[in-house]
């Protein structure tokens, strides 16, 4: 019996060695170790063995079983490894082929510029205010101290709906609306569409965007205007930006200033963008005119304030190097996709 067991082990081992698939191995397992398998068949003869011998033969039988099982497991692992290897081989792809396109939409470059502006001013404690695009002559001109015969009121400059109602030519009327309703301290910016009777060309558009800023409180100085705009310019145009205040005239501010910033392109050395001057005119500003404060029910003896305004289209064009304002309103997808 002992020799039969040994012979079985050898036979099984050699068969396992030859196996080349999991299926064959499973068959071998059943053939040798299954309930009706070869090993069981041999062990059925145990009854005929001397009782004293049984434990020893039993141990041998167990060893044979274990050996065959080990051999089966080893072969199984080897074949599984090989099969996996084959599968992976077959599944090889060309990883250099392009990925599946996921199209993300873009915000309009003007919106992106407005988002940047809002972020900067909100971080400086400004609240974003809104006002109507169709405005009264009172809010757009009268309350802002614009002389009755100011040319900007002409039909050649302003779109009229009737003699009292126009398309706003600036975001400044929002100042007045806010001051009428709010007590100082006031610190707002307002962004939006404005309209002027200009035939479209590379630098003009009958519709454009402006940002307006207003601060009113006790003790606000022209130095504060300078400081605030300096911080803004460094945030928006870059930390090395310098700004320059030049006297100017606006009806709603006194003193008034135009502000130049060092050219974002050349940093002030002079280039094509700044026409060699190193500077670019970026905004108009000034101390709120006492008449404007008074028109809004704020006592200029107690409060003072400053205001500033910028063309957002021009900022966006400078920032992104866009050379024709009409591109902003043509909305060619190939244009917007770039931002």
């Amino acid at each position: 019996m002992e020799s039969r067991l040994k012979a079985l082990e050898e036979k099984a081992k050699s068969e396992i060695k030859k196996a080349d698939s999991i299926k064959v191995l499973e068959k071998a397992r059943i053939h040798y170790l299954g309930k009706k398998g070869e090993l069981t068949k041999i062990l059925r003869g145990m009854g005929a063995i001397d009782a004293a011998e049984r434990p020893r033969v039993g141990r041998i039988a167990n060893t044979v079983r274990e050996n065959i099982e080990n051999e089966l497991d080893k072969a199984m692992d080897a074949i599984k490894g090989k099969e996996l290897e084959n599968r992976l081989q077959l599944e090889t792809i060309d990883v250099t082929m392009p990925g599946k396109e996921i199209k993300i939409g873009r915000r309009h470059p003007l919106t992106q510029t407005m988002d940047d502006l809002k972020d900067i001013f909100i971080s400086m404690g400004f609240e974003v205010a809104e006002g109507p695009e169709i405005e009264t002559v009172y809010y757009n001109f009268d309350a802002l101290n614009a002389p009755k015969n100011h040319p900007s009121r002409d039909m050649s400059d302003t779109f009229y709906i009737n003699e009292n109602v126009i398309l706003r030519t600036q975001t400044s009327p929002v100042q007045v609306r806010v001051m009428e309703k709010t007590k100082p301290p006031i610190r707002i910016v307002s962004l939006g569409r404005c309209f002027r009777n200009d035939t479209p060309d590379a630098t003009h558009s009958p519709m454009f965007y402006q940002i307006e800023g207003l601060v009113v409180d006790r003790g606000i100085t022209m130095g504060d205007l300078k400081g605030t705009l300096e911080v803004f310019a460094k945030h928006f145009f870059g930390p090395d930006t310098l700004i320059k205040f030049r006297p100017h005239n606006f009806p709603f501010t006194e003193p008034s200033a135009e502000v130049d910033a060092t050219c974002f392109k050349c940093g002030g050395k002079g280039c094509g963008v700044c026409k060699g001057s190193g500077w670019m005119e970026v905004l108009g500003s000034g101390m709120v005119h006492p008449n404007v404060l008074r028109n809004c029910g704020i006592d200029p003896e107690i409060y003072s304030g400053f205001a500033f305004g910028m063309g957002i289209d021009r900022l966006a064009m400078q920032k992104y190097g866009i050379d024709d304002i009409r591109l902003l309103f043509e909305n060619d997808m190939r244009f917007i996709d770039q931002f």
């Binding site: 199209k103 993300i104 939409g105 873009r106 309009h108 003007l110 919106t111 809002k118 001013f121 909100i122 971080s123 404690g125 609240e127 974003v128 809104e130 109507p132 695009e133 169709i134 015969n149 100011h150 779109f159 009229y160 709906i161 009737n162 009292n164 109602v165 398309l167 301290p185 610190r187 569409r193 009777n197 009958p206 519709m207 409180d217 003790g219 100085t221 022209m222 130095g223 504060d224 300078k226 400081g227 605030t228 911080v231 205040f245 006297p247 100017h248 005239n249 003193p255 200033a257 135009e258 006492p290 200029p300 309103f329 043509e330 909305n331 060619d332 997808m333 190939r334 917007i336 996709d337």
Partner: protein
């Protein structure tokens, strides 16, 4: 405003180079826009005298001249025909360079040697528009003899620097050389040397010749008339011509040139009349009469209306006040006695007159900005002084000066401390007084306050803030230290609407949609283009009185037309897949447009074409609404919106509110916009979306008990809507219904004509305990029986 530096230096010693001067003027408020150097880029052009002129043997239109240039004689071939022997002319010799960069070389012209070129005024860089008639055509024949061979730039004084200043509307007093000199004086802290005006007069008196009456005191504040006899019309001297030309004025004759010269010098427009055409020896300043007409200097017959002021005699009108003189009374070579007018006309009247007549002149543009009435006499006297100086005539004694209401300098009291606090600087009273003195303002310092006397030409200085600006700009804007506003700290932020708008934009961007921005005004034709119903209220659009054109003449009542225009443009540009949205205002008129502003309502439009279908866009809308926390929305079949395909359109409804419309465009609209393909659009009222949006988030515990999922498929009539089935699922599903999903729709022969198979998977769950199969099945079965009962559905196993 152009200013010749040569001229300016008559009144003030600048003492620095032009760039430094320009920078200082800009920083004190008179912005320099441009600097032109005249006489620059001219090399080797010299004075020559023409000795002989003969015809070119080989060319009819050419002449051969022998030209004496001092040390030698040159042969020059020219095409000009205005030259004669003995003329002095500019000669560009071999190697010369002209302002345009043209280099002159010795050469042969049709077989004849030419050793240079005779030059015209244009070739020497004088702008064509200002060249006097005499030298306009052909070679510049010089007015007198000059040393032969002398450099032309030196001989003719061509070298000058011309500054172009931008004068702001509050400073009309700077529209003159004297005004600029005054600003330069304040800026550089230098004294201004004003011209000394003395007029040599004859014994005869002006008021024996003429009287003046101002009838229209609203249109005319002052009228000064002086009379000049024995006028000799001639060219004005070269120095005067050149100053005029450099300032952009064409020399005409001595009298006209003097009036222009004084206007440029002082800012006071002047006009000369030939006295022989003034009837009744009287000037009357009055309103124009109905039906009156006058032929102005430019030869055009004008019909002033009764709002306009005219200068008239006792019989007829002679000039349109402050705008342009009449042709009849124009000073000509035959004039003997002239009346010189130096008047002050009302700014607004002049502005309106000039606008109505579409006639803008140097005079009108000055009057409409405001001229100081107190310089009228001064300017008249200055002109008379020049007339005598140039030998152009004899000035009669005195002036007729009618000035009904004299304007006097006004006084303003300012508080230096307050100005300091306002600007954020700390000047003492003396420093501030010093600034005011530089500006030639009268000052009286009394400790806490300074009393300032303001000359009448400074119409802009009315209140303390105006003087703060004067202090700031002369002190230097650049010297004000930048500070941050002290006091109250404020919290920044944006309105809820903008926050929600940002979220919506992020969502749409994430789903692949680009944002567009389009004009707020559109063509009225867009109503037809998008096929609006005849009675649609969107046809009621607000009109502009003065649009740029029909295309932009009404305010939009919807965002779709612009979106479709953009889509069409992109179709044209071969953009294959288009996904875009816009959020913007639409404008809805109110009943009382004169007193009430229209409603401005934010709207959202979304459009897509390309590899898309209705359900792709519907998915976008659902995702958008879900993520804005807007639930309970429904898509309700809409068959009567003519913009859309009647079988592919739905209204988006939340409770009792209609949020908007979604659909495939009606083929008519697709054709109107030449889109050449199906296009899917949604229009939503963003103001309602803002109301419904709930962006606050809260946590709901995750499900603890298992769910049971069951499917079903039913065959129903094709006309049965998914919504009908889903309504039943919702009602019957009760509180164990967690979710459901349509996973298949099939039509085909196996199903039968006019029928469709529709399949759902439903998930049931009890949040409180484990749901049993029996419980789920009971609910599921009641759904199925309800579907078969109400919708005639046949269950498929």
């Amino acid at each position: 405003m152009y200013v010749s530096m040569n001229w300016l230096k008559d009144y003030i010693d600048i003492g620095m180079d032009i760039d430094e001067f320009a920078e200082k003027m800009t920083m004190s408020g008179t912005m320099v826009e441009d600097i032109n150097i005249s006489g620059e880029n001219i090399k080797d052009v010299i004075v020559g005298k023409i000795e002989t002129v003969i015809r070119h043997p080989n060319a009819d239109k050419l002449l051969i001249c022998q030209v004496d240039i001092g040390k030698e004689k040159l042969q020059v071939v020219t095409g000009a025909d205005n030259i004669a022997e003995g003329d002095y002319v500019p000669v560009a010799v071999h190697g010369a360079v002209l302002p345009g960069g043209l280099e002159i070389k010795k050469g042969e012209i049709r077989g004849e040697i030419s050793e240079g070129m005779l030059c015209s005024a244009v070739e020497l860089g004088i702008p064509k528009a200002v060249i006097p008639e005499k030298i306009k055509d052909g070679i510049w024949i010089l007015d007198k003899t000059y040393p032969l061979g002398e450099n032309i730039v030196k001989a003719l004084d061509l070298s000058d620097e011309i500054i172009e200043f931008e004068i702001t509307s509050n400073r009309p007093d700077c529209l003159s050389v004297i005004g600029i000199a005054r600003e330069a004086g304040a800026t550089l802290n230098k004294k201004v040397n004003y011209p000394k005006i003395e007029v040599r007069e004859t014994e005869e008196k002006a008021d024996d010749y003429i009287s003046v009456e101002i009838e229209d005191t609203e249109g005319c504040n002052r009228y000064v008339a002086r009379v000049i006899k024995n006028v000799k019309i001639d060219s004005s001297p070269r120095w005067m011509q050149q100053r005029l030309m450099r300032t952009g004025v064409r020399p005409i004759n001595n009298i006209v040139d003097i009036t222009n010269y004084v206007m440029l010098e002082y800012g006071q427009p002047l006009h000369a009349f030939d006295l022989s055409f003034i009837e009744g020896n009287k000037i009357i300043v009055r309103k124009a009469e109905d039906g009156e007409s006058i032929t102005t200097l430019d030869g055009i017959k004008r019909k002033p209306d009764v709002s306009m002021t005219v200068i008239a005699d006792t019989k007829k009108s002679l000039a349109i006040a402050g705008v342009m003189g009449g042709g009849q009374s124009e000073v000509t070579e035959n004039s003997d006695t002239i009346l010189l007018e130096s008047a002050n006309f009302d700014a607004n009247t002049t502005r309106l007159t000039s606008k109505k007549l579409s006639l803008r002149t140097e005079a009108s543009s000055r009057f409409e900005k405001g001229v100081d009435p107190n310089i009228a006499r001064l300017a008249a006297d200055r002109a008379c002084q020049l007339i005598v100086q140039l030998g152009a005539g004899e000035v009669l004694k005195g002036a007729v000066d009618v000035y009904p209401e004299e304007i006097k300098p006004h006084e303003v009291i300012v508080r230096p401390e307050r100005i300091n606090n306002f600007l954020g600087i700390s000047l003492n009273n003396e420093e501030m007084v010093d600034i005011f003195k530089k500006l030639e303002l009268g000052t009286e310092n009394s400790g806490d306050t300074i009393k300032i006397t303001v000359p009448t030409y400074r119409m802009d200085l009315l209140m303390e803030a105006d003087f703060a600006e004067e202090v700031a700009r002369i002190f230097g804007y650049d010297k004000i230290p930048p500070t941050m506003a002290k006091g109250n700290i404020t919290v920044g932020g944006k309105p809820d609407g903008q926050i929600i708008e940002d979220i919506a934009k992020d969502l749409l961007n994430g789903m692949g949609f680009n944002e567009i921005l389009t004009y707020s005004f559109v063509s009225p034709k867009t109503a037809d283009m998008v096929n609006l119903d005849k009675n649609d209220t969107k046809r009621n659009m607000i009109k502009l009185i003065n649009p740029l054109g029909d295309e932009t003449s009404v305010m939009r009542t919807g965002l779709l037309p612009n979106m479709l225009e953009v889509a069409a443009r992109n179709v044209n540009h071969k953009v294959e897949n288009f996904k875009a949205f816009e959020i913007g205002q639409i404008f809805v008129p109110r009943n009382n447009p004169d007193n009430e502003l229209p409603h401005e309502i934010p709207n959202l439009v979304i459009a897509m074409y390309g590899k898309e279908d209705f359900f792709a866009l519907k998915g976008v809308i659902e995702t958008l609404l879900d993520n804005l926390g807007i639930d309970e929305y429904e898509f309700v079949v809409e068959r009567n919106n003519p913009t859309y395909h009647p079988g592919r359109c739905a209204n988006i409804v939340v409770k009792d509110k209609t949020l908007g419309t979604i659909g495939e465009l009606n083929p008519i609209v697709i054709e109107n916009y030449d889109l050449n393909q199906r296009c899917y659009c949604a229009e939503l009222d963003f103001s309602i979306m803002l109301e419904l949006t709930r962006i606050e988030k809260s946590y709901e515990p995750l499900a603890k008990y298992p769910s049971i999922t069951m499917d079903f498929a039913v065959v129903v009539d094709k006309a049965v809507l998914a919504k009908q089935i889903e309504d039943i699922i919702r009602t019957e599903g009760g509180n164990i219904l967690e979710s459901f999903k349509l996973f298949d729709v099939y039509e085909g022969d196996q199903i039968g004509k006019g029928l469709k198979n529709i399949a759902y998977t439903i998930t049931y769950r009890d949040k409180e305990r484990t749901l049993t199969d029996e419980e789920a099945k009971a609910v599921h079965n009641s759904i199925l029986s309800e579907i078969s009962e109400k919708l005639g559905g046949r269950l498929r196993q």
